[in-house]
Symmetry: C2
Subunit: 576 residues, 2 copies
């Protein structure tokens, strides 16, 4: 039987619990959000003993289903003050699932001023006092932990940023090639740091493994599902070839590539940083243009990016990071951006929040537009050392804006707005404004329909249909985030009729249930409503479901578009 494991750091105890009836059908985001909503007082301090950090694999994690290996982390966010779920690839989700751990709940704060590690195995969870890795970057932590043990371990850890409890700190998860993936957004690394957990190691040797209610039905559905993933042009061709960075030229063309801290919608350096250039560079330098973030991924949108000498520079090099330091900070040197990406991984920083924070810092005059070398220095010498400037930037875009009294601060609920300008791609603006997560493109990725014409067409420059589009996608995404599936399965799911039924068939085959499409939609709605209720109780209101004022007043070139939704139109999102 799957179980919950509860680690109480105040008393340094571990308890294994049966999964309550109400949570049996939940996984991933649905489960972390349900636990946070049920157990965390909404007005508690996010870095205090009453916050809880919850990890949960998705419903299909640990199975052979393609792209099902994502792990959700949840807590009250120190960045947004609301509920947070952030999911990640890597090896941990599948190990948790095989160990029968439906969720790991970390609560309390240790009395002792030292650091701890958690070791998770078939014997349960052991709490180890271990200050030896304090101050180390994530890569050194991975290396040190693996060196202690012969078997391949799963690792979840924080870098110095998490130790400093910066609101831009992420939680890193080891991927199949020994590098990192990140629970990027919302400062969950600070929550882990506040609990003085430097790392979790996971050993799935002798794990109970998964029970499958109907293996044959699962196999059949899985085949259909994988075929759909491979056949769709985005998940089958675009993403595998160019990675997510295929989007630079597409968004630039659409005038939706936020440039110079959201001043323009196009970047004159787009050719230097785009997916096509990146692909050529990777191939020329002997990197890997295709690479999966977790076992079983058939899309392989990741890559290994080498430097000019052919040495490893970074992997998991995403469009949003490249946009954030590229167009938004006007940095045209892709190697500088790759170096910064690797540094942010090592320091344990959300590369979206931090890149946008650098854009605001440039607007404040702290460094010059386009100065990639100074970005690298600030990452190493300021954020890495926890200096005051490092704290300001490492605490995110809103933090820089407040410290320097700026008004062009692209955040919603204090979380940085990612790589798609909401004035010229209006659907994504509805997602930024309304998702309980704070500005987050993954919460309802309208770019699919607004820009890529997946799942139909909705003109990005007009208001018509955007609220419905974002609502439908947010509901679907909340459900998908609960399955352990990568969000990119949405492309075939929106276009290929067999895809979504196959996904539901897999869930039914795994658990012996008879869920319908309507049930899955119902799950997505319930997740959103649970999250929203937590936020309302935490003190967030419709006034926080708003884009920053400057989007209304400052038109963005080339379309001279402004954000023109009324408050009522935005609030209609919640009419479901």
């Amino acid at each position: 039987m799957d179980k919950l494991i509860r680690v109480d750091l105040t008393h340094l105890t571990v308890r294994t619990e049966a999964v309550p009836e109400a949570w049996l059908g939940l996984g991933g985001r649905a489960l972390t959000s349900a636990i946070v909503a049920a157990e965390v007082p909404p007005t508690c301090h996010p870095l205090g003993p009453n916050n809880k950090l919850v990890f949960a694999p998705g419903l299909l994690s640990g199975t052979s289903a393609s792209n099902s290996g994502r792990l959700s982390a949840g807590a009250k966010s120190p960045l947004t003050g609301g509920i947070k779920e952030s999911n990640v690839g890597g090896t941990a989700a599948q190990m948790f699932a095989k160990l029968g751990i439906k969720a790991l709940i970390i609560e309390g704060i240790p009395e002792k001023d030292t650091w701890y590690g958690l070791h998770i195995s078939r014997e349960g969870v052991a709490i180890r006092e271990d200050g030896t890795l304090q101050g180390l970057g994530n890569f050194a932590v991975l290396e040190a932990l693996q060196a202690r043990q012969a078997r391949k371990l799963g690792v979840i850890c924080i870098g110095p940023s998490g130790e400093y409890k910066l609101s831009g700190a992420n939680i890193s998860v080891k991927d199949p090639s020994g590098k990192l993936r990140s629970h990027g957004r919302g400062g969950l690394g600070a929550v882990m740091g506040s609990k003085r957990i430097k790392y979790l190691t996971i050993d799935d040797e002798g794990a109970q493994g998964l029970q499958m209610a109907d293996p044959e039905a699962f196999k059949a559905a899985s085949k259909v599902f994988t075929k759909a993933l491979m056949e769709h042009p985005v998940s089958g061709q675009g993403l595998p070839t160019y990675g997510t960075n295929v989007l630079v030229n597409i968004l630039n063309e659409a005038g939706g590539l936020p440039t110079r801290n959201f001043t323009y919608g196009q970047f004159d350096g787009h050719e230097q940083i785009c997916g096509e250039t990146m692909h050529e560079t990777i191939v020329a330098r002997g990197g890997k243009p295709r690479h999966g973030c977790h076992a079983g991924c058939v899309i392989q949108c990741s890559q290994v990016y080498n430097d000019a000498q052919g040495q490893y520079l970074t992997s998991g090099f995403e469009y949003e990071t490249i946009w954030g330091l590229g167009a938004n900070c006007c940095i045209k040197d892709l190697d500088d951006i790759a170096t910064a990406d690797n540094l942010m991984d090592d320091l344990g920083l959300d590369s979206i929040e931090t890149a946008v924070a650098f854009g605001v810092a440039m607007e404040a005059g702290l460094l010059a537009w386009g100065d990639g070398k100074e970005v690298l220095r600030i990452l190493r010498e300021e954020i890495g050392k926890g200096t005051p400037l490092g704290r300001i930037i490492g605490s995110g875009a809103g933090s820089v804006g407040r410290a320097y009294g700026l008004t062009r601060v692209p955040v919603v609920k204090n979380q940085a707005i990612p790589a798609y300008d909401p004035r010229s791609v209006k659907g994504i603006g509805i997602t930024y404004a309304t998702t309980p997560m704070g500005a987050d493109h993954t919460a309802g990725y309208t770019i699919a329909t607004n820009i890529l014409n997946v799942g139909g067409q909705v003109d990005p420059l007009k208001k018509d249909g955007q609220v419905e589009l974002s609502r439908n996608l947010q509901i679907a995404t909340a459900a998908v985030d609960s399955t352990g599936m990568c969000i990119f399965i949405a492309f075939p799911a929106l276009d290929i009729p067999e895809c979504l039924p196959a996904l539901i068939d897999m869930i039914n085959a795994r658990f012996g249930t008879r869920l319908t499409g309507e049930d899955v939609t119902g799950l997505g709605k319930a997740v959103l409503k649970t999250e929203r209720a937590f936020n309302l109780a935490a003190g967030l209101t419709p006034a926080h479901d708003r884009l920053p004022e400057f989007f209304r007043t400052d038109p963005v070139a080339p379309h001279q578009a402004v954000w023109d939704f009324t408050d009522e139109e935005v609030d209609a999102f919640w009419a479901f």
Copy 2:
């Protein structure tokens, strides 16, 4: 006829307007809050063009009524995100009143990247482009402005902190001896800085003067009122002799003197910093133990504090500042605190917000407990120069807490909690939690009844009666803040039966009205409800009417008291 003057900085225009009917009976806080609520979009960026900065003298300002010379400033606060009113002594209120200016409304933001000054005279308001004083401290600004003109000018200005748009920046107002008083709280200096107004000068030569409906009745009431002020032991003896700093020993004795960033309720250095020691020091060094912040003050709680060589060090040296750097930062050297007080005045920093921020910074390990010299260095070299560390501390206690991931951060609505521990003086905790201003002792000063037994007795350690006490005082205070009266008139008003009727008689004699005590209470209630409605629309909720979590979990010595009100008990405050 009194008028409104509207200065539009976007278009660099000035408009004189008749006072709308609905605002004719308002002054001071009632008027600034009414204007902000009516004209400022609640969700606007506080440093953007849609915020407005409003100055309004009280209803009795400019008359000969004792202690009636206070000026209100209002805006949306960059510190709290809610509405803000902060009032001040000095010479400006009386000049505004004599010039017939019921309110000055400053709106927009200039297009040009330079600084401006406003000159106010019987001819109206002139906008002057003037970058010559940029970067100067307040004292140098005062001196430079006075040097330009033979007549004594009223001055309202900001220091470097306001130019940097720090959330801890105040607005300074020249007092009768050419020194400063401050619109201290809520970062109004940053709003003025965002509008690029370095100063306002006021010349009341040839002013129309006040119209008095019934001069004889006024004179008679004024006499009764002044007599009450002089006869009450607090306003007639305690405050004139020791200043507000009389409270150090009283609060220490009560166990309500927050010490070491709100860790303890008593300070072992209280004798070194208390009012009695301060009084002796002032007398021994040839300072002035009694001093008024505005003409017509009969309480004279201010003072001039000299250094050991008999040279001027500071004036307007208040209990809250001395507590904040003294007990709360464990600094025992009163000269260091006085030097810091003068520096904060010069930089234009709220000395409560900044002192509490230093306490949080000490908890973060940025400087040692009790290190007054390092406080001075940080004021001069970091905040004064706008360095990253200066920005973090100068943005207030909440800012330091966020940057360093701390949980013992004494703020409500992000505004620092002043000098009275809400665990051991529970009435003031209700005020901190519920006032629309963010933590503010002056909004409903229950210390009067909880500690000084003025207006009855309510045991500070018990919950009974605290909500009612705070509610009654907040309603009365909102009304008093609208009259231009100093809040210390509350002491006689609470104890001497003739005092409050005399105050109402003065208002009636001034305006030819027939207000009753009930009308005045009604005004206070209306002010609070207007302010609360603004805050709710701005996104503040009952979840923001809460004290920080640590007051609930960490008992404070010597009473081992905790904050033990339920949310429902606190929310009952608004049942009127």
